[in-house]
Symmetry: C2
Subunit: 113 residues, 2 copies
């Protein structure tokens, strides 16, 4: 099976395809902590991570933000005391592209470091 962690986000064009239901069945098991939620009619991949304090969460947020710059794909990140929530989706296609699954897997890897 193709490994998400070995992928790299590609430039996402407005006419790129949303991931299909069949692709999802293959991709979701590779990011077991993530949920698909719908916000304003747009599907997003979201995951919350727990931390012992605020600054530990901030350190993780910074790593995810730098990953975002490397991939040129930018998530919403919410910092709260002891918790960071990351949500990936593809603005241009208003939903989930394979990029989002790659980015989610890489976010998990940053947390495991």
């Amino acid at each position: 099976m193709e490994k998400l962690l070995e992928g790299k986000c590609e430039a996402c064009r407005a006419d790129a395809s949303l991931v299909s239901a069949e692709e999802r069945k293959i991709l979701m098991p590779q990011i077991p902590g993530w949920d698909v939620i719908e916000v304003d009619g747009i599907e997003q991949l979201t995951c919350s991570y727990a931390f012992k304090d605020y600054l530990s969460g901030l350190d993780f947020l910074k790593k995810v933000a730098h990953l975002a710059e490397e991939e040129d794909h930018h998530p919403e990140i919410v910092l709260e005391w002891g918790k960071v929530t990351v949500s990936w989706w593809s603005h241009k296609i208003k939903g989930l592209h394979k990029n989002d699954f790659i980015a989610a897997a890489k976010t998990d890897a940053l947390f495991s470091e």
Copy 2:
């Protein structure tokens, strides 16, 4: 008039008072960009700031997070591309304490730096 920027967040106890309607009338004009919103029945002060890119937003977020540590009062901060949204409220009293207005004023000051 007492200046919010000269204030310092005090330890907020569970029996501390929510800001009264009269106090609000004095405090809100000192933080003109901020709105009061209600989330799950709890009032919050919230403000969004625009940035030219993701990393500029991240820099601001880091400043606000360090302010939070100094004041020992921690907001929710949402990082998106070109935008940072900061929300202050007092968890222990499930609403707005004067601390939140002080923190909002200091957040504005960090943005103006």
